[in-house]
Symmetry: C2
Subunit: 351 residues, 2 copies
DNA sequence: AGTCTTTTCCAAAGCGCTTTGGATTTTGAT
DNA sequence: ATCAAAATCCAAAGCGCTTTGGAAAAGACT
């Protein structure tokens, strides 16, 4: 019945070896014979030895913590998206013995926070969430030399940082074309906050597609804001009140899309036959059926689809790779969104 | 231009004081004069001194990290709820200089994980999420002596652990009574997973209220499962296919409630006039309008309402208090949910 | 002035790990 | 048998903080 946890000293004494040898045996250094290594590992197991993280961290400067600094309060829309991203990333971290250090802070404090996290050696790397166009955090992190990966992009080039992004421009371009091909000419856009780079790109895709088809932009059909259910609801009510309402709506998330559906329902309109709706679908978990064995329903929303959870996994892997070898060339990865046709699109209704 | 971060030794040399005095000055010990304390604080500021967390942690055994161990993958429903809870808790932690250590792990591994976190002194305390009835984690944590607070309860007494819970039983009792008073007699329940204590209590409230009004239970009207949108959708379709469908539905979250609304819409039924719906509303952020200045809409769902974000704040405060003084008597707090009447309830329609 | 407290400060010993720079033993080649 | 090389192990010096057990200086009181 040991009162205190066993430490390296106790373990090495029990084995009749030096702390050096035990430490090396456990950390897989080559200069210890397989025979002693096996002995050490067995004893460590038996005595339930676990190296102290703070001591190891003090000695090595590595914390085995990944920083995620997010502003959950300000841009509330990211909450559910963030949770799914973290669910993916966390899975990868767990497999590699890392934990998430989560810090909530408004955007304007994040630069200072990164500075402190780096100086304190509190984290081994960070993930940048929700990059703005020309996001200052990226420069700061490069200057600090703290390994990081951006979920999304911050500029056109994307050359001086590692990133993983979905081809938002193409997804919205394609969705717009799809609607135009169906015969729609008045297509509304309910977008995210366009200071965020992903939303800016989505708008570009939409605008380019319309321009290519010779359809003039109409500012009264374009909304930008936090992607909440009420955003979709309100935008739709405004759209329906227009002299000439749109016949289709492109929306940046299934969350506002649900608000759109609600507003349409109240107006006695059916999504699809009466108003086409195409949403960007991040495969949020709470909208998915649990048992994936079950016969898959025909998807409700016609959607551009890309799993944010898978994105979390990929970003986490990229970051762990960078931490293992900070000198490796900057990687980047661009995923295409699937386009799935559901029940919410149809040719424009004649009225 | 200092290359390395300044540490206590450098700071004390710069001041011509010993490390002891500097450390004590910074940590507010009484045995250092206000004059020197001021000097020290000024110099620390000027030289941008920050104590190393791992060194401090090694010396004190405190990590200033709060553990949140969750199984985001298994019970997917908790994702958005969890995000809002964390948003609240994180705010409190930030104010007190704590960070969240987030670890994703299936429920069956959590006991082992708590053991390791305690032995490693990796966290100063933990929050227990989603307690089951007779949850084994509670016994483990008590045995480990790791400070913790339970969000919810695990048994009837709730005596040997600190907890904060919503009065789920009363909320569902009241909602059921409300529907009965409106004239409903066939009331369905779309519940969460009933191994979880909160869901079990909700069912009890529902059953008791029905019993009190002399209404027999009908198992075909009761559903239990992960609280997702499709859960609500599917349950509703099953209910509508019944020989004698219910006239009202009680649902454990607005997420499945949205699925209910979708299914009703497809069937050409209006929530409210054609089918009453009462939901438990956790005030999830992405369902709320952003600018709270804006004229508040009449709430859509009739709901039992309690902010999970506020719960996060409260639980965090309770935990920090326990960490400050682990010997303090066990606290507990029971919140009553608001009952707000929205647009989704009405007397049963005659058909 | 001399004694007794208080106040103010410090040297040094941890906390538990990693890692440098040898020392010792074993192996292999001559 | 001899010597160089390879394999195996170790003592001790950090890493940067907190904290114990005093010591020195200052103030209070006869």
């Amino acid at each position: 019945m040991t009162r205190k946890a066993v430490n390296l000293k106790m373990l090495s004494e029990a084995l009749g070896l030096s702390q050096t040898t035990v430490s090396r045996a456990l950390n897989g250094f080559p200069e210890v014979s397989e025979k002693t290594r096996a002995r050490v590992v067995e004893a460590a197991e038996r005595l339930n030895y676990r190296p102290s993280p703070s001591a190891a961290s003090l000695a090595t400067g590595k914390s085995r913590l990944i920083g995620h600094v997010v502003s959950l309060s300000a841009h509330i829309m990211i909450n559910p998206h963030f949770a799914d991203f973290i669910a993916g990333a966390g899975e990868v971290y767990s497999e590699s013995g890392y934990d998430i250090l989560l810090r909530l802070a408004p955007l304007e404090e994040q630069e200072r926070i990164y500075h402190n996290l780096a100086q304190d050696q509190r984290v081994d790397g960070v993930v940048v969430h929700g990059p703005l166009t020309n996001d200052r955090r990226i420069g700061i992190l490069n200057a600090l030399g703290l390994p990081f990966v951006v979920h999304g992009r911050s500029d056109e080039e994307g050359r001086d940082y590692a990133w993983m992004d979905v081809n938002n421009r193409r997804a919205f371009h394609r969705a717009t074309e799809f609607l135009v091909d169906l015969g729609h000419r008045r297509i509304a856009l309910v977008n995210g906050i366009e200071a965020m780079n992903f939303a800016a790109r989505r708008r570009q895709g939409y605008e380019t597609a319309l321009a290519e088809r010779g359809i003039a932009l109409d500012e009264t059909l374009m909304f930008s804001g936090d992607m909440t259910e009420p955003q979709g609801y309100r935008a739709t009510r405004e759209l329906l009140a227009l002299g000439e309402p749109p016949t289709a709506i492109l929306v940046a998330s299934v969350l506002p899309a649900m608000g759109i559906a609600r507003a349409l329902g109240e107006a006695g309109l059916r999504p699809g036959p009466d108003m086409s709706v195409v949403a960007f679908d991040d495969c949020l978990s709470f909208l998915e059926p649990i048992d994936t064995d079950a016969p898959r329903d025909i998807p409700y929303f016609t959607a551009m689809r890309s799993s944010i959870r898978e994105a979390g996994k990929r970003v986490a892997r990229m970051l762990l790779d960078r931490i293992d070898d900070p000198q490796r060339p900057l990687e980047s990865e661009l995923w295409e969104a699937d386009f799935v046709v559901g029940q919410t699109t149809a040719p424009p209704s004649r009225r």
